[in-house]
């Protein structure tokens, strides 16, 4: 819309017509206070805090509902306005308890700030405040009625933002109260957005409430360890007896790729880190078959010695390596380098949740064809094939809903189930579970493959009319089906693609070559020349065993050793424990998982919140992982791989190219308060002394990744500044994909599960139980 010029507090401003006055002012640094106004949600005008004086208008006007107009003259902070706001606060405080010192929101409460600013702590009201008891609405949501100022933010974010509509307002006037849909409890997606958005301490979180004060925490923005969306979550941590403990996850600074969204997992499911049964000492299996705690050097020596013996006696092909979907890119890269150069094997794989290799092959050489998570929030038209983002990619679902609501995006969905997002879809097509490939053929113009009818025809016509289309698809597509889908998409103008994989770094695991047939960047193992040059080693040329073949080999006695990093294949693939009885198994994990129970050596590993590095979400957005928490007794997978390699006699300078040039983690990536070593290096840096470079520095490995993997040639400066960097898929040097075995095993996770890791989250378990067990019927007292 055309620009209009208006005056605010004597300043001449220009903004597009139709802009809300409150937003126009904010854009130039004039703050107008508001409780009920929230960007992106519908207008409420309930709180009356944003009143301003506009010339030629009879009364004070609400800046949150007034659009700017040509020649408008506005005052935002006069004595009259101050008096009005003070009176508003006085009314809000009529029933609000003034017990800020014991309130959970004390120190980060908008009402507290405004009372402080306008000085309305004194009141003319002498009536007794209405008190009501606090209520628990769900395992994660508590409601303290007297603190509520009825701004309706929670009601709107739950309804409009989440499309859950679990909160309402009941009664009226002074008795009005926020009410949950289950009358005394919530039936919802437990995302916690209502708590996050609450300007006061009325809605509080089951994990965080009354544990600490906001100013006692250190806040570190890092990437969520759960699904493939890669949301930024800001972890509030606090010093505990054995390190730094996470007490809260949120994203109030909105600095991340996910804006202000987080689902239950990003917000609450960090509690696995604090589980008491977490491993903190290495375990070595004794002759009697029992685990015994061992020192780090004993355990590493023991594992390295056995690996070396096996490598020397049976060769690398007798060793298998299984990597993780949740470790960093640097760790994944290092693991494959360790496997290929130190162990001398291509027997390396991970739990594949989608077929990234075929996707990369289908898009080889095509630039600007993959979309960022950000694009899903503003693409004009989206075709969603398969998957259920509400359950499996909550941030994507949030973006799609917001996109429809705010930009009137057109969403076309074809699915074998009636997924919830169909409520936002312009057209929804229910297809058979095995009908995705034929649907693509039909969309491409082949009428005979589906039972075409008016609905399918309208669906196809609408899609083909779109001038710009974002195609998002799930694990329903593999191999040739991906190829066919991409070919169809490329026949339309301006198409971008997203393949939805399941975990925090599933994409990174594939990108970094945790595969038996490809090196990092999907380079086939047979053409590994420049890798061999860089590594200064001879690399195995033949494709190795995939994950299932490794277990087959173990069964037939041909796999002498198996090294498992952050994965639980025994449960995931239903492996019979007897299969591994003659295999030397090393496991790195947080817990004694079903796989770890079969191991000969178990190393206690750090989780993604306790290390630094990068991860790549399923869209190809590469983001910085910062160390937020700390746990005495655990080591990062990176450190463990390096130490194992060291004891096997590898040249560490070759494995991790540290110490070449100036590159060091001086603590900035890990949070200044996260440990003694970090503060030491901050002190060194502050005094102009050269920081200590070590083979444990993952950023040295990132240097090597950026040299060898062209699609990861992003700006390091932007990455360190906290921006997301999109992988350049056009730079993937992949030849047409040969027919590959389909090993995709979707995780089938829901909003409340997260693979093996999710089972160790008490909060997820509690929520899951509350959703699956019916509420007990109240028994009569007798």
């Amino acid at each position: 819309m055309a620009d209009v010029t208006f005056t605010v507090d004597g300043k001449k401003l220009t903004a597009p017509a139709g802009t809300l006055l409150i937003d126009a002012c904010k854009a130039v640094g004039i703050e107008i206070p508001a409780f009920c106004y929230y960007p992106g949600l519908s207008l409420q005008a309930a709180c009356r805090m944003c009143v301003v004086r506009i010339e030629k208008m009879p009364k004070l006007q609400t800046a949150c509902t007034t659009t700017v107009a040509e020649g408008m003259v506005v005052q935002t902070e006069t004595d009259e306005i101050k008096q009005a706001r003070k009176a508003t606060i006085e009314l809000l405080l009529g029933n609000h308890p003034l017990d800020c010192p014991v309130c959970d929101a004390g120190g980060e409460c908008e009402l507290q700030d405004m009372t402080f600013k306008y000085g309305a702590a004194e009141s003319k009201y002498v009536e007794i405040k209405q008190h009501r008891e606090e209520q628990q609405w769900s395992p994660v949501v508590f409601f303290d009625r007297p603190r509520c100022i009825l701004c309706y933010r929670c009601v709107r974010v739950c309804g409009e933002g989440m499309d859950v509509w679990a909160l309402g307002i009941q009664n009226r006037g002074v008795s009005a109260v926020i009410a949950p849909n289950g009358q005394d409890h919530l039936e919802c997606e437990e995302c916690g957005m209502c708590i996050d958005i609450c300007p006061v301490g009325a809605l509080t979180s089951g994990t965080y409430r009354y544990k600490t004060r906001p100013w006692e925490m250190t806040h570190v923005a890092t990437i969520c360890t759960h699904c493939g969306d890669g949301c930024k979550t800001t972890l509030g941590t606090r010093r505990s007896n054995d390190g730094m403990e996470i007490v809260r996850g949120d994203n109030r600074d909105k600095s991340g790729i996910n804006g202000d969204f987080l689902c239950i997992k990003g917000r609450y499911a960090f509690d696995f880190a604090n589980r008491t049964e977490r491993l903190t000492k290495p375990l070595v299996r004794q002759a009697d078959g029992q685990f015994k705690e061992a020192s780090w050097s004993e355990a590493i020596d023991f594992a390295a010695k056995r690996l070396r013996e096996i490598r020397e006696s049976k060769g690398g092909q007798a060793i298998g390596v299984i990597g993780s979907n949740r470790t960093t890119n640097e760790e994944n890269y290092l693991l494959q380098k360790f496997a290929r150069t130190v162990l001398g094997t291509n027997n390396i794989d991970h739990h594949r949740t989608v077929d990234y290799v075929s996707f990369a092959a289908a898009l080889a050489g095509k630039s600007e064809r993959t979309a960022s998570l950000r694009d899903t929030a503003n693409a004009p038209a989206i075709l969603l094939l398969g998957n259920d983002p509400t359950e499996q990619h909550p941030a994507l679902a949030w973006n799609l809903r917001s996109n429809v609501r705010l930009n009137r995006a057109r969403i076309y969905i074809a699915n074998h189930a009636e997924i919830k997002l169909r409520r936002q879809a312009k057209q929804f097509l229910e297809i058979p579970k095995d009908g995705y490939a034929s649907l693509v053929q039909y969309l491409a113009g082949n009428d005979s493959v589906v039972a075409a009818n008016e609905q399918t025809a309208a669906f196809r016509d609408a899609i083909r009319k779109e001038e710009s289309l974002l195609i998002i698809f799930g694990s329903e597509f593999r191999g040739r089906d991906i190829q066919a889908l991409v070919e169809f998409g490329l026949s339309l103008p301006n198409t971008k693609f997203v393949l939805l994989g399941d975990y925090a770094n599933s994409r990174g695991a594939a990108d970094m070559g945790l595969l038996p047939d490809t090196l990092p960047g999907y380079v086939p193992v047979a053409s590994a020349a420049h890798f061999a040059d860089e590594y200064g080693a001879v690399l195995p040329q033949n494709a190795g065993l995939d994950l299932l073949q490794m277990f087959d080999a173990a069964q037939s006695g041909n796999l002498a050793a198996l090294y498992v990093v952050g994965s639980n294949p025994v449960t995931r693939y239903g492996v019979d424990p007897a299969v591994l009885k003659n295999t030397f198994v090393i496991v790195q994990d947080m817990f004694l998982t079903e796989t770890a129970q079969l191991a000969d050596v178990v190393f206690p590993a750090a989780n993604l919140y306790e290390k630094a590095g990068t991860v790549t979400n399923t869209y190809g957005d590469i983001q910085l992982v910062k160390k937020a928490a700390d746990k005495a007794g655990v080591r990062s997978d990176f450190e463990l791989i390096v130490r194992l390699a060291d004891r096997m006699g590898a040249d560490l300078k070759k494995l991790v190219p540290f110490g070449r040039g100036v590159r060091a983690d001086m603590g900035q990536t890990r949070g200044a308060q996260s440990g003694e070593a970090d503060r030491h290096s901050v002190w060194l840096a502050a005094h102009g002394l050269e920081p200590k470079l070590s083979p444990f520095d993952p950023f040295a490995t990132l240097d090597e990744i950026q040299r060898l993997v062209p699609s990861y040639s992003f700006s390091r400066l932007e990455l360190l500044a906290g921006s997301d960097q999109h992988a350049k898929s056009e730079l993937v040097q992949i030849s047409a994909a040969p027919a590959r075995r389909d090993l995709v095993l979707p995780s089938q996770d829901t909003l409340f599960t997260s693979g093996t890791l999710g089972r160790y989250s008490d909060k997820l378990k509690e929520v899951l139980d509350s959703h699956t067990t019916p509420k007990p019927v109240e028994a009569a007292a007798d």
Binding site: W165, A166, L167, G168, I169, Q170, N171, R172, A179, P180, N181, Q183
Partner: protein
């Protein structure tokens, strides 16, 4: 957003509801009239009423409860057979509305929004019922009695007690 297969309402009311939802530009506009008619038939807004009304309009039960709890003339508990509604707004107040209310409380032995143990009477203090010219006024279900005094009030109560009162529900 559909007509349920089985309904808790009489065929006449169900038919009326089928029509009501088509009368307005948006279906949820039918909510308040539906609740009023449902209350007349069922006696109060039960959980079953909330459920079926929500289903008929295509909104959540929470939406129904939000509106239901806002309006004082919608009740979620059964009233007595005869619901005495005493107006205490300005005209009635000036002409003795509170006296009438107090009188009813004593005679019936119940307070505001309470029901007599035999279920015959319930009492309510209400806002203006539009009978200001003949204040003080009361309503018994849908029947009006005006220019009341405590004595006249006794007569009205006596008539209903003995079963001679006007049936308007």
């Amino acid at each position: 957003m559909s007509t349920p297969a089985t309904t808790i309402f009489s065929p006449e009311t169900a038919a009326r509801f089928d029509r009501l939802v088509t009368l307005y530009p948006v279906r949820r506009s039918a909510l308040i009239p539906m609740l009023l008619y449902a209350q007349d038939e069922v006696g109060y807004i039960s959980d079953e009423v909330v459920k079926e009304v929500a289903q008929r309009i295509g909104i959540t039960e929470l939406d129904v409860r939000n509106v239901l709890s806002y309006y004082s003339m919608l009740r979620t508990k059964p009233a007595g057979k005869y619901n005495i509604q005493v107006c205490t707004n300005i005209s009635c107040m000036l002409r003795g509305g509170y006296e009438i209310l107090e009188h009813c409380k004593q005679r019936l032995g119940i307070g505001h929004k309470e029901v007599t143990p035999d279920g015959q009477f319930s009492l309510e203090e209400v806002e203006c019922i539009g009978a200001c010219c003949w204040a003080p006024a009361i309503q018994v279900n849908y029947d009006f009695y005006d220019e009341l005094t405590p004595e006249k009030m006794d007569a009205v109560l006596e008539e209903y007690k003995t079963g001679r009162g006007k049936e308007t529900r």
